[in-house]
Symmetry: C2
Subunit: 326 residues, 2 copies
């Protein structure tokens, strides 16, 4: 399988690394909206082209991985490139998924390609676990906890505050809430009861730290509904302790079965990730394998992780899977 | 969907209960190898027929759930009934899955039915999680822990010892092993390091307790490779504290990504089940929905959980799933 990468940020680099772990895949080229001469990639001997020149290379690519952002890049780009190639993205604005699906589906059907949107871990693996657990336990409650991990959106919001030089925000599940859910107590949890937020901030010289802290903890939507802790640290400590992009979380369904619903069951899926973009990239490539197969079978249109039989994700045959993994 | 139940033990009763939680399903009839007049089921107004009379009722059933045992019942029964109806079983002898698959596949193809084998939690949901995690993290290690829960096979083995009136055996993961795996330490674990075994035994009057304990802990295959604890208790305590059939376990994959495999990731799926047979039944019914759909689409042959696109398990439409669960 020949993989193209559209956009070379953290996710694009993650795809580039993950391709080396999948012997049936090869990196064809990286496409960028920047000047290609300024983009240095890790893989020897692979070209970087302008995104504008993709059409000339579309035949060389089996699946194009869209590595732009969900806010403005993917809604515009994924339908456009679905007209030229099989594409996959990690669109993660949950509320806009139906609209994005329709746009990509129309483009992919018209051109005879297969697309898959919203691959990653949430949406993606967390969605799959919500679906499986809901189908198995029709009567129950769903809980999703995120963290401990870095929220890019919240980190960006802190960095926009006057006097802030650099910042990272961690989302942390409240341990008591997690334990109550795991114990099958079906708690009703407010936003504040589910997660806390912790910010590590490098302030500009002479900045008003009390004002920065006040601006963070009272920020509507981002922080005001949470218990937030702010730590001011040096640039050196920031570089040493907060360089990574870890994340993770928990999807739990707690339900009951039995003639009188007398038996409780707890299904839990959790992720502990050193690198959010690299894990997302690894999920994307597994689903890229699946859509390449669907394309070879003559299918067209937009899919999601819900539409993919798990066997299609694996390089192994059905026989091998039944013998070794079932 | 009209569901038939073949065999009315713990699993058959679990299916009967779970049907009430799935509004798109109805129990058509229970089939038994016993005298039907002696089998009293929970559902009012539903008939119990002899297994020998199934053919006369095959047209009334969309999916027949095979509720026999894996040792002798299912290898014989599932291929036979796959000739008459769509069937699903929870065949769990891992080593014999390929042979069973081939037998059922031939029968189902010949007669134009869809079958699904080995639905449940292991094989079943644990298999799915092994597959997903292996496809996402091609370089890593897999771990499966079972328990804390009742092993029926081990309980049966203890009950066969002279002087034992009743017994229940619990399989328990070793907490230190679980923690090491979760920490991404990739330990090499022996059988003894992964699980301990705990037996609760009601002895016959005057039985030689030391001999019973010795017979248990030295029993080859079942106990000799484990640290086993034996507790002798009264019949009353047994009835009060050990009436249930709880089980569960953990599937963990620990892997690395990055240009130099510098980032670790841990994917964990766990189940905590009050009733092993009722949870197994709930998994089976979700997959029964899927195979009924595949049959309506004109597919034939034997499937496993690996072959089923997750959306097929749900009564919701693709649009609803994308809007609410993705």
């Amino acid at each position: 399988m020949n993989i193209g990468i559209m956009g070379y940020g953290n996710l694009g680099r993650g795809i580039e690394c993950a391709i080396r772990q999948n012997p049936d895949m090869e990196l064809t080229a990286v496409f960028t909206r920047r000047d290609p001469a300024t983009v240095k990639i890790l893989t020897e001997g692979v070209a970087v082209y302008s995104a504008d020149d993709f059409e000339a290379h579309a035949d060389e690519v089996d699946v194009l991985v869209m590595c732009g952002g969900s806010a403005t890049d993917l809604p515009q780009q994924t339908p456009v490139f679905a007209k030229l190639c099989n594409v996959i993205d990690s669109f993660d604005t949950h509320a806009n998924i139906p609209q994005h699906f329709d746009n990509v589906d129309a483009a992919a059907r018209e051109s005879g390609h297969v697309a898959l949107i919203s691959a990653g871990w949430d949406p993606g693996m967390f969605s799959l676990n919500r679906l499986y657990a809901n189908c198995i336990l029709p009567e129950g409650s769903d809980y999703t906890f995120w963290g401990k991990g870095v929220s890019q959106g919240h980190s960006d919001a802190v960095r926009r505050i006057a006097g802030v030089k650099n910042a990272k925000q961690y989302t942390i599940p409240v341990p008591e809430a997690l334990e109550s859910v795991r114990a099958g107590e079906n708690p009703q949890l407010t936003t504040r009861q589910k997660h806390t937020r912790e910010c590590f901030v490098v302030a500009e010289e002479g900045a008003d730290l009390a004002q920065i802290e006040h601006d963070i903890v009272t920020m509507p939507n981002y922080f005001s509904d949470y218990d937030t802790t702010v730590h001011f640290i040096s640039e050196d400590d920031f570089a040493r302790d907060h360089a990574g992009i870890p994340h993770g979380g928990f999807v739990i369904r707690s339900g009951a079965t039995g003639w009188n619903k007398e038996n409780k069951h707890v299904v839990e899926y959790s992720l502990k990730l050193d690198s959010n973009p690299e894990f997302t990239a690894s999920v994307i490539l597994a689903f890229a394998r699946a859509i390449n197969r669907l394309h070879n079978e003559g299918q067209t249109g937009c899919k999601t992780v819900f539409d993919i039989a798990p066997a299609y994700l694996s390089p192994l045959s059905g026989e091998e899977l039944r013998a070794h993994l079932l």
